[in-house]
């Protein structure tokens, strides 16, 4: 998915590092990576460490880091030229689970801004600190999002949940997944990671509260990804 853009920008001094947030690791993420045959580092984050360290709350999310290791854009929605979910294999209508069919319908209403994002990334690759898309450290901190007591508690519960689930202690993990969603309902990586463990379509179950469709409809699909906060591209 990112391979083509990476090949284009790598000669300009930019490397792409993908991180798969997947509790089941290569078991679930591996086939996507293998199919993409990336030449860039493709990492596996079974504990969602990146969520906590960089403030990621949905995927795909990108963080820009300059040559000195300084973040110049904190976590925000990131799109290659096409959004990943639009390129996934399309099931034939007769194969569709009714819930899945509704999800696909709803997903069409999600706002993605691939052209905007890739233009900005290209500009930064070429112009570095002179790019209007590179932010100052103060702007980076300010945009990194608030983390109060509830958000921190959500992270602690989510980590316990994943740890217990990976150890096969699924019943003990469930209350922690539920607590994470309750404490930080806007964190889609927490919710979706939990839902998919109980149902591959992230449909309603008795195990977890909420489901993809209901939670997306509650906020409106157009708000699933915040609008990119970027200046108008330069001509």
């Amino acid at each position: 998915m990112w391979q083509e853009l990476r090949e284009e920008l790598h000669p300009k001094g930019l490397e792409v590092v993908t991180v798969a947030l997947d509790l089941k690791g290569v078991e679930t993420a591996g086939r996507w990576i293998e199919a993409a045959a990336p030449r860039h580092p493709s990492l596996i984050d079974r504990a969602h460490t990146v969520d906590e360290l960089f403030g990621v709350v949905n995927v795909p999310n990108g963080v820009w880091i300059d040559e000195q290791g300084v973040i110049v854009r904190p976590a925000e929605p990131a799109f290659p030229r096409r959004a990943a979910f639009r390129d996934r294999p399309r099931p034939q209508p007769q194969d569709l689970d009714p819930y899945q069919a509704e999800v696909l319908q709803e997903a069409r209403r999600i706002r993605t801004q691939p052209e905007r994002y890739t233009e900005a990334l290209q500009d930064w690759a070429e112009r570095g600190p002179d790019s209007p898309f590179a932010l100052t450290p103060d702007e980076v901190l300010s945009r990194s999002g608030e983390r109060g007591a509830d958000r921190s508690r959500a992270a602690a519960h989510f980590e316990l949940a994943q740890h217990l689930w990976r150890e096969g202690r699924e019943t003990e993990a469930v209350p922690h997944f539920r607590a994470a969603r309750r404490l930080q309902p806007a964190n889609w990586t927490y919710k979706r990671q939990a839902w998919v463990l109980a149902n591959r379509f992230q449909a309603p179950t008795d195990v977890f509260e909420g489901d993809w469709l209901s939670d997306v409809r509650a906020i409106g699909a157009e708000n699933y990804y915040p609008k990119l906060d970027m200046p108008e591209p330069t001509a």
Binding site: M1, G13, L14, E15, V16, V17, V19, A20, L21, D22, T28, A29, P41, S42, L43, I44, T49, V50, D51, L53, F54, G55, P60, N61, G62, V63, W64, I65, E67, G69, V70, I71, P74, A75, A78, L121, A125, P137, V140, L141, S142, S144, G145, R147, G148, R151, S152, A154, A155, A156, H157, E159, L160, H163, L164, R169, T189, R192, Q193, V196
Partner: protein, 112 residues
Amino acid sequence: MILTEPRVRRDDFTARTGWHFEPEGACRGDLCVSLPEAPGEWLDAAVLSERLRMPLIHDEAAGLWGLGPESLGRVLQTAEAPDLTLPDWKGEPFALSSLRGSKVLLLAWASW
């Protein structure tokens, strides 16, 4: 981070959270938070919880503690990127810091 007792090795804590220890206390970026006493090899999780506003959640039945990230206002206290090391999909460890000198797009995605 996950603890099996309410204390944590200083080096493990620094590796996982980026907080390191100076004479002034626990520091990250330009921010230092004072501690009641100079830390030894082991840190008391309850002290870290109180001083750095890190929630400490005890799951008694599971025999585990979860020490969450600091809640000091913003997710990032410094624009310096955390020193992240994760396995690549073949299992080899990869340190983000090995890419110093390049611009990096760190891209979080998921199979779900």
